[in-house]
Subunit: 425 residues, 2 copies
């Protein structure tokens, strides 16, 4: 097919007519397809059903230390769960706290704590006027929602193939004491699937923040979530930070939400002993302890970290065809038209597509009218505002391969439709 | 035995010598006994072991609405769990949110929200100077810890046989707009086991708070936790409040922590539709949803509210002999000495003992030296300061009947020891 931008106006309008016809055919089918959220599909959830057999009425409900996990106590979580998360988060076991079913909740709680109480001897954030967070974008809408909820100003940081633009990050962090934090999804980032390069991680570790209470929110949600046979690797932020005396900078999060059950997994966080000491004082007020039976269920199911990795290989087998379906359609339908670009991720939960500037909202509106629900345009940017109105997050995990193929046909037609509308104006 | 206070000094000193001898004998036995926390015993936890068989790898993991509980979503919790909690909290199903494993965490989150965001169109509490909470005392140490954590001034409200001193509550709430809340454990209160009378509940419902953002924190932790055959009843605070147009006042909490597993139960809160609308905005930022598999496990185990009540009868059979052991020792060892008073509760988790003024710390110190751990003196009062140094919370649920008898022998000797030290000075 011809590159759209080099077409003359007449050909464009003809092509738009063709595209509209196809679009209207799809629309008339009254489809209902959803590529909006990073939800595991039923097949993935089925992988963990045997975990429900691990504990039964005859089980010994004691952890490795001999603690009855049914009762109160053990604020930090059981040690066997800490061990597995330590490997996932690339830290020492002593740095880990295992929590409830949601790492997002632990992030919310952490920001809430920093707002209310502060850290490193500094004033609580709420008492410091005009504080800011750096937000590599496109990024995760729920991170941005937390920041906005607490009234923290958000600054867009462009993403590169190696992670956030580190020149810009260094410039802000090292010079502006109002900059208190940055959101990072360092491996298979949401939505682009970018893994931060070794240089990027090292530059994070070498930061010299103007604010003593600056923290890196390191959401390693997809740490072992490969989808191809060319997995990527990430340096340990904690190890790197230690080299430069910066171990108080990172606060690391992870969970099994996309390993076992997204609604009923276990979450964890990791931080330096100094940060943990402060945070545990808060946790000790907030709760008596998290659900240790579910922790034990998980650890007995997996045995150890290697067991988790073996389980992830099964997810990969389910997800690869889904990502392939999306990428094949993008290739066959949009390649060479010069109206969209996308990355082929090696892991994570999304495919990120950039359409022509000013077209993302229109594409998503057209999709919706044809029965295909996509993540809202702008959702991948702070305040829901994509400055170029260009980024669209495609979530291939939940629908079946057949549904994805159908939904992607419609999506690609909508991308063409919006591009031709714009170009022919 | 003679009333200690009417003894002459010589008899007192002789009696003190006797008591010291017995005390030292106990001490030399090197015992290790714990009556400090309201933890269920293993026998109680065993009652819920069959709950671990309810869901297995062959189970249908859909809730009544057809939702796959393994996946994300359903922020308010599954409807079958809401139904059971609605009965426990004496509210309509539509007023309920089911949360994670800890109602304490939901209370912390609620106060945190009110501090950060405020309610009823008022300024966030953190922006209002000098705000206060009423704390009926003796009360629950973890309530007071939350209040103190957020820097809210606490005011002691004496407890009567009918609940908090309502003259004082009305005087504060209706006249001082800095008074923003009150902590209540309305049924089988911690530690005294007092159930608020109908008049008390009605007077709460009729409050005319000076502050529009005044809220009643109604922690109904022991709503169905009877231990005798003469259970007490509590009016529905929500129903009463509705009668006086005050349905926005109460925020109600409960959990299954002392019904199923204390570390792995499910918690819930209830509030007016107006309050819920505000709170759900926060919950929607904080998490994608709580552990619905554990909710389903609970509801399939119990079937319905009546199933929960049948289960509570089994707890009662385990707890009654334990409470009896404590009360029998108090009766046989301390009755008539005029050095201690206590209530005989019909439910809840504690026996509250008032020793002579200025003696509680000393009793607990003596107990500790003899190997019996009690809740710290003062713990039942705001800031850990019992103004009379008199109240001691005895937790009879965790130890065996034999251990309790032994521990109570030692406790009673320590009460005598401290009383005689004081009286003979």
């Amino acid at each position: 097919m011809a590159n759209y931008s080099s077409m003359d106006k007449k050909s464009m309008l003809e092509e738009l007519d063709n595209v509209k016809k196809i679009y209207n055919e799809y629309k008339s089918q009254g489809l209902k397809l959803d590529m909006s959220r990073g939800k595991p599909c039923a097949q993935q959830l089925d992988l963990s059903m045997p975990m429900l057999d691990v504990l039964n009425s005859n089980s010994d409900l004691k952890d490795q230390k001999g603690l009855d996990v049914r009762n109160y106590g053990e604020l930090e979580g059981i040690s066997e769960a800490k061990k597995i998360f330590a490997k996932m988060m690339q830290v020492d076991v002593s740095n880990v706290i295992v929590g409830g079913n949601s790492s997002l909740n632990m992030m919310f709680d952490t920001i809430s704590f920093l707002m209310m109480k502060g850290i490193a001897g500094c004033e609580p954030w709420i008492k410091q006027e005009g504080i800011k967070f750096l937000c590599p974008a496109p990024g995760y809408d729920r991170h941005f929602a937390i920041t906005q909820y607490f009234g923290i100003e958000m600054i867009n940081i462009p993403m590169t193939e190696n992670g956030p633009d580190m020149d810009m990050v260094e410039d802000y962090v090292n010079n502006d004491e109002k900059v208190k934090g940055i959101w990072c999804v360092p491996k298979y980032s949401n939505p682009q699937g970018i893994t931060y390069s070794d240089e990027t991680v090292t530059r994070f570790a070498k930061l010299k923040p103007a604010a003593k209470d600056f923290r890196i929110m390191w959401d390693n949600a997809y740490c072992i979530h490969d989808i191809t046979d060319t997995p990527e690797t990430l340096l340990s932020i904690m190890d790197e930070c230690k080299k430069y005396g910066n171990e108080d900078l990172p606060i690391i999060f992870s969970s099994t939400s996309k390993i076992t059950f997204s609604g009923a997994g276990i979450a964890a966080m990791a931080a330096s002993s100094g940060n943990l000491l402060t945070l545990k004082k808060k946790y000790g007020i907030q709760t008596i302890g998290y659900d240790k039976i579910n922790m034990l269920r998980h650890t007995r199911f997996f045995g150890n970290y290697e067991g988790v990795l073996a389980h992830m290989a099964k997810h990969k087998a389910i997800l690869k065809p889904r990502f392939d379906a999306v990428l094949e359609k993008l290739d066959s339908e949009l390649n060479g038209l010069d109206i969209a670009s996308w990355r082929k991720p090696n892991g994570g939960y999304f495919v990120s597509v950039d359409v022509l500037e000013g077209c993302a909202k229109r594409v998503i509106e057209l999709c919706k009218e044809a029965g295909v629900v996509m993540t809202s345009a702008g959702a991948t940017y702070p305040y829901g505002k994509d400055p170029k109105d260009s980024n669209i997050r495609v979530a291939p995990t939940y629908p079946s391969v057949d549904e994805l193929a159908k939904a992607m046909d419609i999506f690609c037609i909508c991308v063409k439709y919006a591009a031709l509308e714009k170009l022919s104006k």
